[in-house]
Symmetry: C2
Subunit: 685 residues, 2 copies
């Protein structure tokens, strides 16, 4: 309240930074920044709790720009507020190697919490951040020690509102009663195709009410700063529901094209810029102008945040005395490291142990490590009993009023919402106190492809427990049997795809996934039982690939993953007995990790001089990188008992041997067979 | 109304078929079939208009089982109703090569409209079927000739309700006022994780009201057959809104475990089966029993349907007299063929034509062919101006009351709903009178991965206009620049991924996509301008790959796609001038189509004796299948002007040449270089 001309000066300066930067870049989105500058100013100058000098303070309020194309708004705010974004950075908007790319990227730019732009993702990230906040409060807050009480604010546009991932996340947020989440919907009636009336006529506020949200409406988001502030404060006071503010704004406010699609995704024309600057009382001859008094008023708010952090640090200091174990736990979490010695809990196996499905082996890992890693927070997209993602006696993360769990709970019932689950995990990981994992069938990780991509791009530690990983799931049939899925995610940069073959490899997958702070992992796990290999160890499997079975003067190397490694071992005998051929067997639980090994090691696993054959019951795509010939499934699977399905497609010792014999024959006259590990040149990284 | 014991006999017989089949398969889902048998019986025996002897009659009512795991319900109904599903087929449930797989597959099984199981898809398919119905009625119905007046009924469960794809589709269906769509929600309160209370407490009916749906509630779906029928009839009478029936049922009705998760996804135990059969008055010693009077009552309804079809055929016959052009158009559409000579409208180009972005070339194709192919129905996920998917003067498909278009409109404003758009296109294609295409950025086709997968599996002709296909989109940056996307969809069986290099190749992509009746296509198109190649023709490009530039005694073959082909052409000169190397250039607009060519042709394009280098600005995964070395981008892109981004990553004549030189060097001592086209054995198809 008590807004003055100085506030409008700040608002217009922020608007004009977006105008100037998009004009200079000849690219970008001025419309949403100009329309949302008032609410952004109220939020960043009056409401949001942050210390611009330490953007990582864990109890800061989180801000997510789900309509990431409006990022010049965010860059302008961060700049004015004193984060590490200089005016030169603003001027470098959308140029190669700048920290101000076309959409906000969390790993590069100070003050950006999550990477947004693909619509709907940021909103679901915000739900994740709010879950993490409620969880941290549940775990760490004690009487007299409210260590965690931040809010999560999220801006979103009509595009985000239409995306299914946001609907899923909104439904779950309502169920979970996430009172610390406040979403502000830029209800500007414009999307790229024009007036939203052409495709989007639902009653959004009523829909969110149906999800269990609290609703506020601000009718004049262009002018009513008091109304904006009052609405946010009302939402802050609602503790048992997430809140949505329906904020009516004018896209491109000030432009000659305001209120139209013309101002959404293209810079303003020169003459339009001139009149906007004059209208706002700025010198139209100047660009990239922020008056000193605007910096000053933001510095004042930033200094308040710095003082709040200092107070908080003192509180934490006291807490360390009275709640030593919790404080120590928190410290470890915030470092991103894992508690010392946790890895001793990883189970190991020997060949005499009974055959077990790798989804079950995964369950055993979770059962054994969850006490050692208190930051581990699991869940499933309504497949708990199939994914085996819930350790015994786990407490569900639920609002206490439902009587089904509490805020300390470490198991999230995501519902059948794979895409939101992926995006929520990105938010959980970004918060800083939690390592998220969650389960679904491997085939349905594809539903979440948009979120997985952002896990990889934004470099967060997120783990997918992807069970039922092949035609080996059997009766559910082709609709549920992945063919293309591993190739898809193996082609995604900075994403580890694991397909362990036995118990030690499953432990290795978790070991590497949990210790890789900046890389997401997908662990593909079988429904069917798998025997334990003779030579597997956590250490060997942690190299991404290793020799499972060595042979003197081998005729061929069989290269495989997961459930097919054991069948390859059986094929070795078959090849010896029926064809007098000596075969080596290599297991490749993870391409990405193997690629990172020294070339010498890689060549020892896949050496020159021997032809190789890959064996994996799905698309052969990508295997040409490691092997000379490929046995796979470049078609859809079949519904039936898993052994019948494997037999149909000849994934048997006999079927493998047939192709191994053909491979040996095909290469018999080739001198100096070169391992595919050898390459003419290095790839750019 | 007037239901008798015979109806209950039928209902219980259907329930017990599901019980017996899941028990025999030792796998499957008896719960939903047992709970939904009453509504299914009312629908299939009283309401649904169909001729079981001709499951393709175009004005039949459509039935979609979105909760596809309940497929034994559908198989049982189709069997009892007289479709081509025998009792032996029922007994073969979930066995290899049966027509009764674990989830319903449209391409294999008589009477299955769309392939379902992955949750939410069927519901969105149903929206597509209803759109196609409204469109067909708009186009073909004339005074006195109501050729199209079918309804689309869809069963869906709580799982479907939670999926974002269903939310997107529901919002669009409400906007479009699809009065012929009636969805029946099996509100049984149980999903795999137990009571839906653990994750799904929203007010679904209120949410659908917010979307603009009509709502009916049936409180006792287990017993109240009159109430079910009355609710459906009320929905039928609502013509300006889609309808949702909230049907409260008991999952696994009759089982000792009824109303619990225990009956959802596993067969009943033997003793439970015994008591169920006794409770229902069946002989517990017998299995797979359908009393003759049940067949008889269904035959009666089927005969009514056959008579309705006969009447309809007579109507069509009259219509052919008075509306000759329309009748001819309809006949062609139903054949799946395209109107004769349509392909003469495809534009062709010569090298002297100005460079044009391939998204623009795509627009020109659509502009030129839309009159010749009246069944073509386009759209975009709110990127019309970027995808260039809308021909000039196109009419939007909209409910007339909005004043934005009408039911004859051939352009759908999908909103920012990529996943629903994909699934809706599957429904549109399945209806039989429409060939759907739609646009988004290539990167966001991934949002729809679940639907694209089902396009491929169910063998429907659906075309994605996927613009902004690489780092060449420039400033939007890594969040929008596909890296893994082409590899992902190239690994998907029965999916054509096109990346045309110029105008003739773009026409070829459309030619093959439109004439491939049983395969979906993704056409990846550039934002930046591309020159026209010297030797491209529609015919040559239609082979999937061809030699763009031949060279005597070539030192290397450069193999490329899309926007990089032109740069490879420039690299040829560079290699000659700076390194005295002769390079051939091959364009590969489509892997899948190239793979289908005779080996002799493939070897003429990629011959033995010459090393090859692929050049494509995204993941190299998959290229090892065609080339010896690969130049690509196995990392995320960058935000900046497209030429700067290409330069950063060295996709320039110089950068390509550097790698070509390394490749030639690497292969100089290899005798008899073998083309990767040569393989030791054939892949299973």
């Amino acid at each position: 309240m008590g807004y003055t001309d100085l506030d409008w000066l700040a608002i217009n300066a922020i608007r004009l930074l977006a105008v100037d930067a998009t004009f200079a870049a000849n690219s970008g989105h001025p419309g949403a920044p100009m329309g949302m500058a008032p609410v952004a100013h109220v939020l960043f100058n009056r409401i949001l709790k942050y210390n611009p000098k330490n953007s990582k303070w864990v109890n800061r309020d989180r801000f997510v720009l789900s309509n990431g194309h409006a990022c010049m708004l965010q860059y302008a705010l961060l700049h004015v507020a004193g984060y590490k974004i200089s005016m030169d950075d603003i001027k470098a908007f959308r140029t190669v190697d700048s920290i101000t790319p076309g959409h906000p990227e969390a790993h590069d730019t100070d003050g950006i919490e999550v990477t947004t732009g693909p619509l709907g993702q940021g909103f679901a990230n915000a739900v994740g951040l709010a879950i993490a906040n409620h969880h941290a409060a549940g775990v760490f807050n004690k009487p007299g020690f409210e260590l965690f009480n931040n809010y999560t604010y999220c801006f979103l546009g009509d595009g985000c509102m239409m995306e299914g991932v946001a609907s899923e996340a909104a439904s779950l947020a309502g169920h979970l009663q996430l009172g610390s989440l406040i979403a502000i919907w830029d209800d500007n009636h414009i999307s790229i195709d024009g007036d939203t009336n052409c495709a989007f006529t639902e009653d959004v506020a009523l829909r969110f009410k149906a999800y269990g949200w609290h609703i506020e409406v601000v009718a004049d988001g262009d002018n009513d700063l008091d109304g904006i502030e009052a609405a946010i404060k009302k939402c802050q006071a609602v503790h048992d529901k997430p809140s949505l503010i329906k904020l009516r704004t004018t896209i491109g406010f000030g432009s000659k094209l305001q209120g139209t699609g013309g101002v959404h995704g293209a810079p303003l024309k020169a003459d339009d810029i001139k009149q906007v600057k004059e209208k706002f009382g700025f010198d139209s001859a100047k660009t990239f102008v922020v008056p000193q008094e605007v910096y000053d008023m933001y510095n004042k708010h930033g200094a308040e945040g710095a003082a709040q952090e200092q107070e908080w640090n003192q509180l934490l200091s006291k807490y360390s005395g009275s709640h030593k174990a919790e404080a120590e736990d928190l410290k470890v979490r915030l470092s991103g490291d894992l508690p010392e010695g946790w890895e001793k809990n990883l189970p190991t196996y020997s060949p005499s142990d009974p055959a077990v499905a790798s989804r079950k082996l995964s369950e055993i890992v979770l059962q054994k490590i969850h006490q050692a890693i208190p930051s581990l927070v699991g869940g499933s997209a309504d497949l708990t009993g199939s994914n085996l993602t819930r350790w015994k006696d786990a407490v569900d993360f639920q609002p206490p009023s439902l009587g089904l769990g509490d805020w300390t709970g470490r198991y999230i019932r995501y519902g059948v919402r794979e895409h939101a689950m992926g995006a929520i995990m990105n938010g959980l990981a970004a918060y800083g106190t939690v390592i998220p994992y969650a389960g679904t069938f491997l085939n349905f990780v594809s539903y979440a492809a948009g979120a997985v991509r952002l896990s990889a791009l934004s470099q967060v530690r997120v783990i997918w427990v992807a069970t039922h990983d092949s035609i080996g799931l059997g009766e559910d049939g082709p609709t549920h049997q992945p063919i293309e899925t591993l190739a898809h995610f193996r082609a995604l940069p900075n994403c580890m795809v694991w397909r362990p073959a036995d118990g030690n490899e499953t432990s290795a997958a978790y070991y590497v996934a949990l210790t890789s702070k900046h890389t997401p992992s997908i662990i593909a796990l079988s429904r069917q039982n798998l025997p334990h290999l003779e030579t597997s160890t956590i250490e060997r499997a942690s190299k991404g690939a290793y020799v499972v079975h060595e042979a003197e003067k081998a005729d061929i190397t069989l290269v495989s993953t997961g459930s097919e490694v054991g069948i390859c071992i059986d094929a070795v005998k078959y090849l010896k007995e029926k064809h007098n051929l000596a075969a080596r067997v290599v297991s490749v639980p993870c391409f990405e990790v193997f690629d990172a090994q020294p070339k010498e090691y890689r060549l020892s696993v896949l050496p020159d001089g021997i032809p190789s054959l890959s064996v994996e019951v799905m698309s052969t795509m990508g295997w040409e990188r490691y092997t000379h010939e490929q046995f796979g499934l470049n078609r859809f699977g079949a519904s039936g008992a898993y052994k019948d399905v494997y037999k149909k497609f000849e994934f048997t010792p006999e079927g493998i041997s047939k192709r191994a014999v053909a491979t040996v024959e095909f290469y018999k006259d080739v001198p100096n067979i070169r391992s595919p590990i050898n390459r003419a040149f290095q790839q750019l990284i």
